[in-house]
């Protein structure tokens, strides 16, 4: 089965490993991710902070390309891209004038047909196929599942498939793979990814709260689906620990690498060696790799 796929800038660059993992894991259960042609950046948080028209129009061009594929569903793994694209699709559905204005500039017009899904929705709908293909139980893995902001919270009303304040999709998926996800308090708190370069102290403070709570609950890793959150919690973790005197570190996994590991895929195929905070030690200790 083919699903349209919008990787966004980060899965083409700093989080290329996530792109590779997603394709491997979904490929294993017979899903082909078909990257939409010649996509552009969705504008992310920056466009919405600077220009209301661009915030809708940039994502609209991708929606037009996606509609033209004739496929029924498009998966967007990055939470920020997912949010911007969904918001654009909804805004255009509710504003025919804006839609024709934007469509006039586009070679492939927005029709509003394609269903936009985040990666958790795509995975959860195939939980059985995933567990059927698992060869290892993720025993001993105690993840703090981290959803961040943009997977469940939107700037306007948006019907979503999980709970806004207490989403549980990741926990369900990982439990079925034998992991023991923990209850904790910061799963939808902001990690400050968009501020880590321009307002660093603020971002470090937010991350320290997240890290401290996860450790206090006895987590031995984070799991996330957002490449922005992953990079932030992973790359700045040393700095957070140093500044806030936190002794222990926690690996920050993408959901796809844990699924891949349970399906018997190795370090190389999953590129687990591309983390900033050691991610191999725990998996070795638990004899998962």
């Amino acid at each position: 089965m083919k699903i349209a796929y919008y990787p966004g800038c980060s899965l083409h660059a700093s989080s290329k490993l996530y792109d590779i993992q997603a394709k491997s894991v979904l490929g294993k259960i017979g899903i082909e991710l078909s990257e939409i042609e010649d996509w552009n950046c969705c504008g992310a948080t920056s466009a919405s902070k600077t220009d209301d028209f661009l915030a809708i129009a940039l994502a609209a061009r991708n929606l037009g390309i996606a509609d033209a594929t004739g496929l029924s569903e498009m998966m967007i793994p990055c939470s920020s891209c997912y949010s911007r694209t969904l918001v654009s699709q909804k805004a255009l559905a509710g504003d025919p004038a804006l839609r024709s204005e934007i469509n006039a500039e586009l070679a492939k017009k927005v029709e509003g047909k394609i269903k936009i899904s985040n990666i958790l929705e795509v995975l959860l709908a195939r939980k059985k196929e995933l567990t059927d293909n698992a060869v290892k139980k993720l025993t001993g893995l105690k993840p703090a599942c981290y959803y961040g902001c943009l997977l469940t919270r939107f700037p306007s009303d948006m019907p979503i498939t999980d709970s806004v304040e207490n989403p549980v999709a990741m926990e369900g998926l990982l439990k079925s793979m034998g992991a023991e996800p923990l209850d904790w308090g910061y799963k939808t708190d902001c990690c400050g990814a968009s501020a880590s370069v321009n307002d660093a102290d603020m971002a470090l403070k937010l991350m320290s709260k997240i890290l401290k709570d996860a450790l206090a609950r006895g987590a031995n890793c984070f799991v996330t689906t957002c490449p922005m959150c992953q990079l932030n919690l992973d790359a700045y973790q040393d700095e957070v620990r140093e500044k806030y005197g936190i002794a222990k570190s926690l690996p920050v996994y993408f959901i796809t690498e844990l699924l891949g590991v349970s399906m018997g895929m190795g370090v190389e195929q999953m590129q687990i060696d591309r983390h900033f905070t050691d991610a191999l030690g725990l998996l070795r200790e638990l004899k998962l790799i």
């Binding site: 800038c9 700093s14 989080s15 290329k16 552009n40 028209f53 070679a107 943009l150 321009n198």
Partner: protein, 203 residues
């Protein structure tokens, strides 16, 4: 304890309120100051202004304060305030509007780097249709230099170069320029955006 008297002029306050409501699409008048937004806002404490206070400022017509405070620049667009607000007021949208209004009024951003960051990101999309980390960071530092001189750049490079080195080591830095072929479409969308701002007298 010192007390102060509320200064209120219906005329100035109505003009500000109307503009903010129109542009942000948020009904500020439905705010009943319950402060659920304040309880959830991750940057309210550091900003000295919580979302409820900001809404109040606009309602009272305190234009200078509304266009000139840390919250509008520190806001992370995490949408917690709006999700929890019983009246569906999305302060993140209000912050976006106030930032744009501050720019139009030529008020220096309270945190210039935040402004440079987002405008450089958008500029980098206008060049190649996609965001390329290296090009984007270069644009950002140029903006930074213009606003804060060498000191600002030096401070930034100190922290980002550490990250850059780890990115290289972990093969997470990307050197190939990623670009969209449909450049003319991207250009026309950017032009349309500029025309729209122009028509409203916005920079």
């Amino acid at each position: 304890m010192s007390t102060s008297t509320l200064k209120y002029s219906a005329e100035t306050s109505n003009a500000l309120l109307k503009e903010v409501m129109d542009r942000s699409g948020q009904n500020l008048m439905s705010c009943y100051q319950c402060r659920r937004c304040a309880a959830g806002c991750p940057v309210g404490d550091e900003s000295g202004v919580t979302p409820d206070r900001l809404v109040r400022m606009v309602l009272l017509g305190e234009k200078d304060n509304a266009l000139n405070n840390l919250l509008i620049w520190k806001c992370l667009a995490c949408y917690t305030c709006g999700t929890r607000c019983p009246n569906n007021i999305q302060t993140a949208r209000i912050n976006e509007t106030l930032k744009q209004m501050a720019k139009e009024a030529h008020i220096e951003p309270n945190i210039p780097r935040v402004a440079s960051f987002h405008s450089s990101f958008v500029k980098s999309i206008s060049h190649f249709g996609r965001s390329n980390e290296l090009e984007f960071m270069a644009l950002y530092e140029i903006e930074n230099y213009k606003k804060g001189g060498l000191t600002a750049v030096k401070e930034d490079i100190k922290s980002t170069s550490k990250l850059g080195r780890s990115m290289l080591k972990k093969k997470r830095m990307h050197f190939k320029l990623d670009r969209t072929k449909g450049k003319s479409e991207i250009k026309s969308l950017f032009k349309k955006a500029a025309d729209k701002r122009g028509a409203k007298g916005q920079p």
